[in-house]
Symmetry: D2
Subunit: 306 residues, 4 copies
């Protein structure tokens, strides 16, 4: 059943394969093959399903904001994190600076760029990237996950809007550290190289109350999970989150690398990938695949059959 | 168990009974007794629970936007409605006009004032208020539900910000009818007089896939329910929706009359009421009661125990 | 010399006669012959010059805001007026509502629509329109000046954006009276029917320290003149005021009827007219005529030869 | 007469000496003696007048934007400069980033921080600071004018809001060069160390059609002067420019170092200084001195007696 739906979802989405545009403001991202498309599901009882280019690596980009948020909550605690970022959706694009000026520099939520940078500045410990990679590897259950160095260098060389956001927050006293050091970590985090299999595994563990079902080990505390999954519902697709909640209805985070990660409460994680993006920065085919899967497996949180 | 939690929730919230301020921009609203507090639960298997001033009437205000949205979808269809309003959260206050100017006059969602007025302008039929009352009575299962005429006249006499919103949308071509006629309907809808029992019943039917369990009759189609419940998640408490999603995690709509209505998928509806509001226009004690109930009955949609 | 420059200015501007668009948001305005073009100068020593359709009537629109501002200052005093409006340029379009929300409802200056409506609400006396017409007739030295009733009715029927601005200000407590009554006066004021000769005469009296040189009578006090002429410099052409100050350098007020009125300190008044507007709402050919006249008669306030 | 008015203006302004606050966001600026107050006038026929701490040095800050604008126009030409900056007043604070996002990254005028940084990025030549100092020395007629190295280093270390503005413009393609290099020049320019005598001399040359009356040498072309003096009228005091135009009526530029420079067309330059600033970033006592001088010497450009 699940495998059949995945295969159909891939075919259904492929009709839209040429729609949208690959993110080009990070030069290295524009080198990806735009026709790739893949999907993976991992269930909480340990089964795997996949279709298409499920093992193609790509950079997680904003999807990694979920992992860095968890790391910040684990190392710095909720109070420090929420002193630096809110939990409200914005209605503005992911790289907007408007609300920062109107709200005294505090970003509205951790899923937009400004908020994610503020969250990264909260992470405590001697080796933030080492800690981040360790957590990512456990959540994705793959020890070979790495930062894509070419994308990282490309983002670092060109991420001027993110610099604007970070310096603005520093001018308001929200970021205390050296901005370039914070951004260096942020750019590495965005450049986490993953497959849809990795994302499905991570989503599954979030859906499984933070426990790795293969080892029984708790990786994320429930109080943190509640926050991150709620944020994935209200803010996970930037200023397209509301429509996604209606049409798909799964806690999901998208990234401009073309991926999306969903956590289906108690049931499964889903990873999807296709590089071309709509005008809000969300992958066109990833969106269509998730909509198809949600509808045909009755996964919408307000599905009448769940 | 449920009754005990309701009693405790009432006591827990009462500590905050004097916090916040009764809405005073509608003079008639300021006449309410600010110390009233009540709560009701109706389950999908037909049980009733209540505590405090559960039978006190108050005006639904923005909560009624859920019913008028359903009516517009039922009479005019989804295409017409979504030509007039979006489904994205805003991050701005409920009466803000900023986004209207920046987004060419189309309100971001039906839960803010501008969006609700646009939705009301979509309702088709010869007697919008008659149709609205009929639907409200069936959803609340009480034939004696009426418009509070004193509040309606007070809102009509003083609702200048809503006039500004409506004329702005008309100047952008979004509202075609006579603005005062649209507002006359809108002000009546906001003045729907309800009890927490009414809200709990309505929320229960939304949670029960739109079917009245006492009669077996379907009142709302699933495709509409999916939209309205998703909107209650992402936009139900104005620019406090994100924090509510984290802390309480129930599809809920608030009103400046002091009430809130929650739909707990497949399980129950909850109605709460207390007049004093926080700075975002949400009832202080209603919020606390729902948080207590959600936590102690494990109702959060990302509760690890549901 | 002056006559020759006027004739040349007309020819110079006519090259652009088909550029831009007649204001169409007031249906009656769209009925004007778009190819009309005229110019008049009246000097402080009583000489008249004109060219083209100098005797064509058109509605003053925003140009009349200068006269209603003077009337409000004369009847209500500076304190009351500046409690209702600021004197700062905005950088936003003439009908913008953004700054109203960001600045607690107080319009930035009397030359944008919101500010002019607030100013009209300040006028004291039993017959605001009678007083306005009396002042306009003396400033233009023509007793037969009237309100264009067809344009007035058209504006009253369609001016929804102005209603939005007015109700917004009322919701913030800035306008105390009945909004429709204030707007009724505002729409009449905007519909003042004038010729370029009228505007040149009015501009000349402003330039002559408020004294009618033909009668020696003082019509406007110097303290009011200083304000209105300063506002014509900083805010007279909406969000095109800065560029106009650089290129033309004359205290000037434009109107969407296609006219402009300039006051050349101590020397003369200039009236120009042509209906087609640029995207900021300023007449294309009126702008070109004033630029030509200013350059060739060395009238720019920072001309090196004055 | 002039000397008497200067002495009176100083006494008149001193009443307000303790009002406002010294700029503290540049730590080095906060070290200035806040009770200093001085004024100088230099006339186009070569006379000097002064009072108070006229020979106290302070940093020009935004006043230097006039000189760097002239340098950019002289080295890069008007087309390049106006491809990077507009000439419209904004109604927003000097360090606002809102309009940048709403206007696709192009700053509204060269007198706000974003615009001045964009202008600095236009300067052509191998040694921008050398060229700037050379021009400043000739306009102020003092060869010993220097950059205040302590203030420059302090601004460079703390100017995060300016970094945010610059990186935002770079992300929109408006600034092509290395942002830190552009800012390094900008911070040095702001740190120009001057006296009121220097500012009065510079203002006098601007008022004298760009010609140094002592040598007969033309330093600034008339076409550039027209722009810069018009900008000083419409945008010279940030979002306080409109009120200053009404009350004082002189082309003037202020700086957060506490100084102001006025150019009285054909007559004189005025330099004033006092460190405490109002909430818009303009010196309280400098404002009062200029108002007194303008009123008593009848210098307002709409004074009835000039």
């Amino acid at each position: 059943m699940i495998q059949k739906v995945l295969d159909e979802a891939l075919e259904y989405a492929k009709v839209h394969l040429k729609e949208g545009h690959v993110a080009d403001y990070i030069p290295e991202l524009a080198k990806v093959d735009p026709d790739k498309i893949g999907v993976s599901i991992v269930t909480t009882d340990g089964k795997h399903y996949c279709a298409g280019d499920w093992d193609q690596t790509f950079t997680a980009q904003s999807i990694a904001k979920t992992i860095s948020f968890i790391l910040a909550m684990q190392t710095a605690g909720a109070k420090k994190v929420f002193d630096h970022v809110g939990v409200e959706p914005t209605g503005d694009p992911f790289n907007s600076i408007l609300k920062l000026e109107l709200k005294d520099g505090k970003p509205l939520n951790p899923m937009i760029n400004a908020g994610a940078i503020a969250v990264v500045s909260c992470i405590e410990g001697d080796d933030p990237i080492g800690q981040f990679l360790a957590l990512a590897r456990r959540l994705c259950r793959r020890d070979t996950i790495e930062i894509d160095q070419a994308v990282y260098r490309s983002e670092k060389a060109t991420g001027m809007r993110n610099r604007a956001l970070a310096y603005f927050m520093q001018s308001e006293g929200l970021i205390e550290q050296n901005v370039e050091e914070v951004l260096d970590i942020y750019f590495q985090i965005c450049s986490l190289s993953v497959t849809t299999q990795d994302l499905a595994t991570c989503g599954m563990i979030l859906a499984n109350d933070g426990v790795d079902p293969f080892t029984g080990e708790r990786l994320v505390d429930n109080s943190i999970l509640r926050v991150i999954k709620s944020l994935m519902v209200t803010c996970g697709l930037y200023d397209g989150s509301g429509e996604f909640a209606v049409r798909v209805g799964l806690p999901t985070k998208s990234g401009v690398g073309g991926g999306m990660m969903s956590a289906v409460e108690g049931k499964m994680g889903i990873g999807v990938f296709s590089p071309r993006l709509d005008e809000k920065g969300n992958s066109v085919c990833s969106y269509h695949m998730l909509e198809y899967i949600s509808n045909h497996l009755k996964l919408h949180y307000f599905s009448s059959h769940n």
